[in-house]
Symmetry: C2
Subunit: 229 residues, 2 copies
């Protein structure tokens, strides 16, 4: 009799197994995940799944959190051990793109339109900020290392809001830097959503990686990370 108890361990395994099968269904059938189909695949009654997830939404939430952490991890790993912030930013961007291309439905789950009637619970906002915090840290690092071209400061009410964010989440970034990081992140997510959701259809078809690189270099220039637009 181990400390956590047999039942608790089995429960954890079962929970994980449900998520795995659910992810598989998500990858093939898209976002309209069927709890009954997942239960069928597991050889159990659909009602039994409700012992592990109170509702379909709760299962989706678990998958969303996992997805945020997955892409966050991949991004952080790609940014590590790079010579400078520009290389880290571009490597990170390509890593996120690879992750998204590898499982478009998971991308849609976290960065696409919210599932109807689904309200993101508090648990998700932590993992959700990993990528954007990573970008912010790169911007801040470039700034403190003197590798960031000066950009005019920002003013207005949104600048004050961003000052609060800078105070809370960074170790000395200005509102301008937070704004730059947010902008870069939204440029990244826009570029990827455009590619994955078919907005690029009939324009760039072959060399989408090259076009993505071009866009991310543009975003880096806008931030001040590079001097060549």
């Amino acid at each position: 009799m181990s400390a956590p108890g047999v039942r608790a361990r089995v429960r954890a395994e079962m929970t994980e197994e449900i998520k795995i099968v659910a992810r598989r269904h998500l990858a093939t059938d898209g976002a309209n995940l069927s709890l009954r189909a997942v239960a069928r695949d597991l050889g159990m009654a659909s009602s039994a799944v409700y012992r592990y997830f109170a509702s379909r939404d709760e299962l989706l939430t678990a998958l969303i959190i996992d997805a945020y952490n997955s892409v966050g991890e991949q991004a952080e790993q790609a940014a590590r051990d790079k010579t400078d912030e520009l290389a880290a930013f571009l490597g990170m961007a390509h890593a996120v793109r690879e992750w998204a291309l590898n499982d478009p439905h998971q991308w849609a789950l976290i960065y696409g339109s919210p599932v109807p009637g689904y309200q993101a619970p508090q648990d998700t906002i932590g993992p959700a900020t990993r990528v954007i915090l990573l970008i912010a840290s790169l911007v801040e690092s470039a700034y403190t290392n003197g590798r960031l071209t000066e950009r005019p400061p920002i003013t207005g009410r949104y600048a004050e809001e961003l000052a609060v964010i800078a105070e809370r989440y960074t170790t000395g970034a200005t509102p301008r830097l937070v704004a730059a990081a947010l902008s870069a992140f939204l440029h990244l997510s826009g570029a990827l959503s455009g590619e994955l959701f078919g907005q690029l259809t009939a324009s760039v078809e072959e060399d989408r990686r090259g076009f993505f690189e071009f866009q991310m270099r543009g975003a880096a220039y806008l931030i001040g990370m590079t001097d060549a637009p």
Copy 2:
């Protein structure tokens, strides 16, 4: 006994009425549109709706085309009669934002994750390009009027693809200009999706319009429409 016939006219009216009710349902219940609920609201049997739309997907397609045209129209109207291209671009961006804020579900319908199992038919790609072609025309206009700061040319395979697009859809734009227009469009859609889909939660909450303006000015700078980043 008008030329189109009574039946044809009633059919057209009925088709429009179904779309109106469906749009209302979309605005309140989100993307999981229920054909039966729409039929109930119209006081008719659900099977009768199938006389007008062969499937739920076909109804969604009709709504998507209408939405593309609606936002396209609003964008074009906002860009008209502006003193210069920068003003037109910013006015257009804010118009698109207003349109999206006014009916987020329609925005999600066209720029969010594709509906599961839904494959956009050929009919949609025409209306879908209205906004981006508008941006391209603004860029081209600024270029021919000498109001566009020079940006380094682009190379690579995606540049060749964009050259084909430039040849087909513009009257003399370079691949670089098409790339700029695409980038600006994706920046716009990324900024709006981020705002609407909750990516900005707990950062910019109050002055989102100001932050959006900041981002669009950034995009304009990246294009070369303005010299102040």
